[in-house]
C-alpha cells in the first residue's frame, strides 16, 4: 500500500515536470504550424533575406531583414548600456557596499524589475525621446537609441540580481586567501572573484539579453516603428516583437500576412531559445 502511494506521488511529480516541457513543445508546434504555412506562397529565402517589410503593398513584401536588424540594433544598444552598468552595480552591491547600503540597493534593484514595461515606455516617450532628439538634433527622438536606453533599464535588474548571486556565491575563503597573499581589494575582485563567478556573469548577461529581445510594449512606444533597414542607431526602427503586436489586430485569419507574423514569432522563439541554451550551458560549465 505504502509502495503504491509512493509510486503514485512519484508519477504525479513526473507528470508536472513533463508538463512544462510539453507546453514549450506545444507552443512551438502551434507557432510552426501557422508560421510554416507562409512558405506555401512565399519563398523561404524571400522571407529570410527580403529587405522590405510591406504587407499592404501589391504584391505584399514579407522580408524579415529590417525587423531583424531593428531588434538586433535595439538589443545590441541595450546590451552595450546595461552590461557594464550591471556588472559595476553587481560588484558594488556584492563586494564594496557596506551591509546597510547593500540591502537598500538590492531592494531598489528589485523594485526596478517590478516597474511595468508600459511605464518605462511612457517615461521613454515623454522624457527620453525629446532628450535624444535635442542631444543629437534629430527630426524625431523616437529612435533605436531611445529604445535601447529604455530597455537597458529593464535588463539591468535581471543582470544585477543574478550576477550578484553569483558573486556572493564565491566562497569567502577565496577572498581571504587572496588578501592573505597581499592582494588589494581591486586585485582580488578582478583576479579571483570575477573569474570564479564568470559562469554566473555570462548567464546573467544572456538572460538580460533574452529579456530585452522579447520586450514589446516599451519598444513599440519608443522606437518609432518604421520598418526600414536602419543605417545608424539614431534612426527609427521596428522590432520583430513590435511588428507582431502592432499588426496582428489588422490581419485576416489565414491570410499570408497572418502567417508571416507567425513566422516572425518563430524566428523570435528560436533566438530566445538559443540565448537561454547558452546561458544554461554557461551555468552548467561551472557546476562540473
Amino acid at each position: 500500500m505504502r509502495k503504491f502511494r509512493e509510486s503514485l506521488i512519484e508519477k504525479f511529480i513526473l507528470l508536472n515536470g513533463l508538463a512544462s516541457i510539453l507546453f514549450v513543445i506545444l507552443i512551438f508546434f502551434f507557432l510552426a504550424k501557422d508560421g510554416v504555412a507562409l512558405f506555401k506562397t512565399v519563398r523561404l529565402s524571400d522571407f529570410l533575406f527580403g529587405i522590405f517589410w510591406d504587407p499592404l503593398a501589391e504584391p505584399p513584401q514579407f522580408g524579415i531583414v529590417p525587423l531583424f536588424l531593428g531588434s538586433l540594433m535595439v538589443t545590441f544598444g541595450a546590451t552595450a548600456i546595461s552590461v557594464p552598468l550591471g556588472i559595476a552595480c553587481a560588484i558594488f552591491i556584492g563586494e564594496i557596499a557596506p551591509r546597510w547600503m547593500r540591502e537598500f540597493l538590492k531592494a531598489g534593484v528589485e523594485l526596478l524589475a517590478a516597474i511595468p514595461s508600459i511605464v518605462i515606455g511612457f517615461i521613454g516617450m515623454t522624457m527620453m525621446a525629446p532628450f535624444v532628439k535635442k542631444m543629437f538634433s534629430l527630426p524625431t527622438g523616437l529612435t533605436a537609441l531611445s529604445g535601447a536606453i529604455a530597455l537597458a533599464f529593464m535588463a539591468i535588474p535581471t543582470i544585477v540580481s543574478i550576477m550578484e548571486d553569483a558573486i556572493s556565491a564565491v566562497p569567502r575563503s577565496y577572498r581571504e586567501g587572496s588578501f592573505a597573499l597581499g592582494a588589494t581589494h581591486w586585485q582580488t575582485i578582478y583576479r579571483v572573484i570575477i573569474p570564479a563567478a564568470s559562469s554566473g556573469i555570462v548567464a546573467s548577461v544572456m538572460l538580460g539579453i533574452g529579456r530585452v529581445i522579447g520586450e514589446t510594449m516599451a519598444v513599440m512606444m519608443i522606437t518609432g516603428n518604421a520598418a526600414v533597414i536602419p543605417r545608424t542607431i539614431l534612426e527609427p526602427v521596428r522590432t520583430m516583437t513590435a511588428t507582431i503586436a502592432a499588426e496582428m489586430g489588422e490581419t485576416v485569419r489565414g491570410s499570408d500576412h497572418y502567417f508571416a507574423l507567425f513566422a516572425v514569432g518563430m524566428v523570435l522563439f528560436l533566438i530566445t531559445f538559443a540565448i537561454n541554451l547558452i546561458a544554461d550551458a554557461a551555468l552548467h560549465r561551472e557546476r562540473k
Binding site: P98, E176, G177, A180, L181, G182, A183, T184
Partner: protein, 254 residues
Amino acid sequence: MVNPGTEKIVAEDLNIYYGPLHVLKNVTLSVRNHEILGIIGPANSGKTSFLKALNRLNDLNPNCRMSGSIRIDGKDINREMDAEDIRKRVAMVFALPLPLPMSIFDNIAYGPRRHGIKNRKELERIAEKSLRSAFLWDEVKDRLTGSAMKLSGGQQQRLCIARTLAVDPEVILYDEPCSGLDPISTAKVEEAMFELKARYTQILVTNNVKQAARVGERVAFFLMGELVEADDAKKIFTAPNDKRTEDYITGRFG
C-alpha cells in the same frame, strides 16, 4: 643580518572585539626571530583572532574593533604600514586548504604577480623554489598547468604553504593547518615547517597539543581570550606555572 632570538613581533595590550564580544583580552606577547611559536587553547579562546590581527585580516570583518598595538621590527602595523605590505611580510596558511580556482602554477604565481613580478622565467623560478620548500615539487612538477582543485587535501595544504612562500614573507602564520589532514600529510607539513625554520619566523595555532609539543619551541596557552602563559615548550609541557595550563595539556578539559 637577522639575529635569531631577538624580538620580531611584539603585541602589547591587545584587545579585540567582535561587536559586543570581547574575544581577546589584554594580550601582551612577543615572537622571536626564526622561532616556531605554538599557540594552543580550546575553541573560542581567541587564538585565530590573535593570528588574524597579526596580518590585519581582521580588517575584513566590519564588526571587528581592536585596541593596543602590534609592532613588527619596531613598526606599528596598524598605524605605520599598509595592509597589503603587512600581509606580504606576514603571510597566512589557513585551516582548510584553500587553493584558488586556477592552475597549480597560477596559484603560486598569484602573490608575486600582485606584487609586480611579470617575468615568466622569474615566476617559474619562484614556483619551483617554493614548491620544493613545501615538499610538493616532486609530486606536481609534471602537472603545473593542471587545476589546483584536483590535488589531494594534503597536497592542497602544501600548495597553500608554497603559495605563501612565493610572496617571500618574513613571518608565516598557520591557523590549524593540519586539522583536516591525515597523519601522513600532517607529518609532511610539519617536516616542511622544520625545514623553513632557518629562514622564517613561524606561528602555529593548533588544536592538537601534541603537535605543539612536536613542532613548537615556545608555546603560548590561550583560554577564553586571555593569554594564560607563554614559555619554552619544554617548560610548558613538563612544569607549567599555571594550573589551568596543566589541566588543558593533560586533557582534563577543552
